[in-house]
């Protein structure tokens, strides 16, 4: 084993494991409760659950397989050839050679909002998108840091991991809606089936709780994966301070841009370099931090400073 300066961050791994464990726990509890309800239930309860599973699962699989195309279309991005964008391709080429990974396709979105994202279920089917705004605003070194961050998302298969993690929340969300509508429209038949009302109500209650908990856990997981991508990206280029300055520039740039343009980008939020929409209102900072898909700028800068220190340690590594 070669000596290395690139120590893994055990704390981050532990926190991520705990989050995934909790998500798994919620999942098991949810399934167990649903099975219990369905055993006690008659056809209408079971049918609702089945339909939600099929729609939720099917939707997730489709979005996983077409994530690159969906994201390209949603961002209005166009794939560019090496001849069209030699500098950008050159950067990605070199980073992929450094990391020994397959090169994703490269696309440019004609938006002034400075941002970048990568999506696709694996590295062969991935696409890396940067906006014209980010290319204009950042120095080459800083843009490279951003690209390294996005390539780390690809290497970590974040689209897959987050899709699987969200599956449960999607199904729970659908169940809430289905149960609600079946109450609304099936109300007339309730007198025939005295069982139906409490059962559908139970499914709805369980789903609401599961949805709320898993929503928070998914957001937490997303924040951890952002930190992991920052970390891997900074180690790949060996320039944590360049990524830090890119983050700083981009997030102050984000604040300047009017909200109306940003709302259009909201569906892609979880995969963006910097979230395009800041949650406002509520209990201020703490609440928005809990709901946010990305860690706060301070947290990200703090981690990068730590990496910078690690890389600069004098003397041969252990």
């Amino acid at each position: 084993m070669a000596r290395t300066r690139y120590a893994p961050d055990r704390g981050l791994t532990v926190r991520m494991t705990a989050t995934m464990f909790l998500l798994g726990l919620v999942f098991v509890a949810f399934v167990a409760l649903l099975i219990g309800i369905m055993i006690a239930a008659h056809a209408s309860g079971a049918a609702i659950v089945l339909i939600a599973l099929i729609f939720g699962g099917g939707g997730a699989v489709i979005s996983l397989f077409y994530s690159d195309k969906i994201a390209l279309a949603a961002a209005g991005a166009v794939e560019v050839s090496p001849q069209q964008a030699p500098e950008l391709h050159g950067m990605v080429d070199r980073l992929c050679a450094l990391a020994d990974m397959d090169k994703p396709r490269v696309a440019i979105a004609p938006a002034d909002m400075p941002n970048a994202f990568a999506t696709g279920r694996n590295s062969k089917n991935s696409v890396l998108v940067v906006t014209e705004g980010i290319m204009r605003r950042l120095e080459p070194d800083e843009l490279e840091g951003v690209l390294a961050h996005e390539l780390s998302h690809v290497a970590h298969k974040d689209v897959q991991v987050m899709t699987y993690a969200s599956l449960l929340a999607i199904v729970a969300g659908l169940l809430i809606r289905f149960a609600f509508y079946s109450e609304l429209f099936g109300g007339g038949r309730r007198s025939n089936n005295q069982n139906a009302f409490p059962i559908i109500l139970a499914i709805m209650a369980v789903s609401v709780v599961v949805y709320a908990i898993s929503f928070l856990l998914i957001r937490l997981l997303s924040r951890y994966r952002e930190l992991a991508a920052d970390r891997s990206g900074a180690l790949l280029t060996g320039q944590p301070s360049k990524l830090a300055s890119a983050l700083q520039k981009v997030s102050t740039g984000m604040a300047r841009i009017p909200t109306q343009d940003l709302r259009a980008a909201e569906p892609l939020n979880a995969f963006y370099f910097v979230p395009a929409m800041k949650l406002t209102g509520g209990d201020g900072r703490s609440l928005s931090a809990l709901f946010s898909t990305h860690p706060s700028l301070e947290k990200r800068l703090e981690q990068l400073a730590k990496i910078q220190q690690q890389l600069g340690q004098a003397g041969p590594p252990q």
Partner: protein
Amino acid sequence: MGFLDTLFGRTKPVQPKLDDLFALPSAAITLQAATGFVPTGSGSVCFRAVEGKTFSDIQAEVRELLNMDAGKPGGGLPVEVTKDSYGYTWLVSSHMSDEMDTLVTDLHAVNSALVDNGFGPQLLCTLVAFRDEQERRLALVYLYKRGTFYPFAPTSGQRRDNALELQVKNVLAEDLKIEQDLAKWFPVWGAPGL
């Protein structure tokens, strides 16, 4: 990357493979016999410098080490250090055309200095330059992370002579581990020493 690494989102920086570099001298002889391309005697190591003084100290040490023999018979010229537009550092070592062995030793000295100090993952590629009688340029590029070579033949502007590259690929198939995935043959336009 393993399943657990994916799950936890941790990529381990990839360590370079160094040994295959020593196949270059005999490959150069094969190449000359089959295509008439001769080594120009210059070769370079390309790496992504890490910010901070630790790394620049190591870089200075390597340079000093390589320059110790400069000017002596067989020692070649002093090492040139350049930074390209992508921010990568190139150490260019220049020897006589028939000193392929010493050139490769020089390149290896750079590699092992970085690896010994724990900066092996920063190595990108090494490049050895060739030229034929019509002054066509050719480089053999060694990808550290994959341990494979590929030919790169730039012509005027940002164009490359793909026919020549494929020809060289076939000629050297026996001598070198050639990168089979053509998508990884990325161009190194304006590489120093080419």
